[in-house]
Each structure stands twice: as C-alpha cells, then as structure tokens.
C-alpha cells in the first residue's frame, strides 16, 4: 500500500498570466535534460552525459471562443515565447512550477467530434524550468 499519494489537481494555472485553470482537464509538465552519448571503445555499457534542457509542457483545455477564454488566450501565442505557471497543493505543501520563455508551435483552432465537447491539446516546448 502506498504511503504517500496525491490526488491529481492544480490550484492555479496561468498561460501568459491568463488564468486557464477552469478550462484545463489534463497537464503534463516534464523536466528534461537531453542525453549525449559518450560511450567509447572499452565500455561494456552505453554511457550518457547531460546535454541541454529541453522541457515540455502539454495540456488539454476545453476550447472556447468566448472573450477572454481559451482561443483568445492562445491564438496570439503561436510562434512566440511565453510563460506558463502551474501550482500544485499536496496537503500543506504548495509547489509552483514555472516554464519561462517556452514556445508554442501549433494550436488546433478547430477540433470537434459529434456529441463531444471541443478540446485542444497543446504543447509548449523549451524554456527555462524553475520550481519554488
């Protein structure tokens, strides 16, 4: 039996300072340092060392074309850098994860299926990761 668990939830989520917490249903924030191989003859196992940070942040949002909502927030961020901040609360522990100067390559502007609520899956890449 696990001794410490955490019910997935966020207490705050901002994209370019816009609060999108009430639109988000899923978020994955991954801190990645690229691996560079330095294996050489004589080694019996592959060996890697750290390269550049290459962080990613993916999220699923309910889409909305209303003023101040999902589309209005993201439409002008395609192809530019921005900052995303996600805050988690686990009991008495609050942790703020920030990805500064991350890049949004694409935005699904229309995504819908018959009988379903429209959602968008977006990916922010790169940027500087910090946690407080």
């Amino acid at each position: 039996m696990a001794t410490a668990v955490y019910l997935s939830n966020l207490s705050a989520l901002t994209v370019n300072t816009v609060n999108l917490l009430d639109q988000c249903t899923s978020l994955t924030f991954t801190n990645t340092k690229e691996s560079l191989e330095k294996t050489s003859f004589g080694s019996t196992s592959r060996v890697f060392t750290a390269g550049l940070f290459n962080n990613t942040l993916t999220m699923t949002l309910y889409n909305s074309f209303a003023s101040g909502e999902t589309y209005a927030t993201l439409k002008n961020l395609v192809g530019v850098q921005t900052t995303v901040v996600a805050t988690t609360v686990d009991g008495a522990v609050t942790t703020v994860f920030t990805l500064t100067d991350c890049y949004l390559e694409s935005l699904p502007v229309v995504n819908g299926s018959l009988g379903e609520l429209s959602t968008v899956d977006i990916v922010f890449t790169g940027g500087v990761y910090s946690v407080a």
Binding site: N16, T17, V18, N19, L20, S67, G68, E69, A72, T73, K75, N76, L77, V80, Q81, T82, T83, T100, D101, G127
Partner: protein, 65 residues
Amino acid sequence: MTYIIVSHKVGTPGDEFIPAAGINVAALLSGGFIIESTKTDKKPAKPKVSKPPGPTTEGNNSDEE
C-alpha cells in the same frame, strides 16, 4: 508605457498590469485582456518661491551731526 487590466482572468479589472519576465504583452493586448493606459504624466506646477524679506530702506536712527 502603462497597462490597465481589463479581464478578470489576468487580475482585478482597473488595476495596473505590470508584466513579469517572459510575458508576451502584445498577445495580451490583442486578446483584449489588458489595454494601454491613456493617462499622461503631468509635470508638477512650478512651486511658488516666496522672496525672503529684504533690507529696509528706512534711515538709521543715528544722530548725524
């Protein structure tokens, strides 16, 4: 250049918006979340300088003989 918050999604409407590092202000303006403030900085009026009292022109009371 100062900005005013318009949308409650960014903060309290009417408050001044101070962009943090990494924030795309142009996107917020285009999305209608903030607006540019139209207030202009007024130069303060010149303060009135009161002249110190100068020497009197009355003659001395010395007796001249």
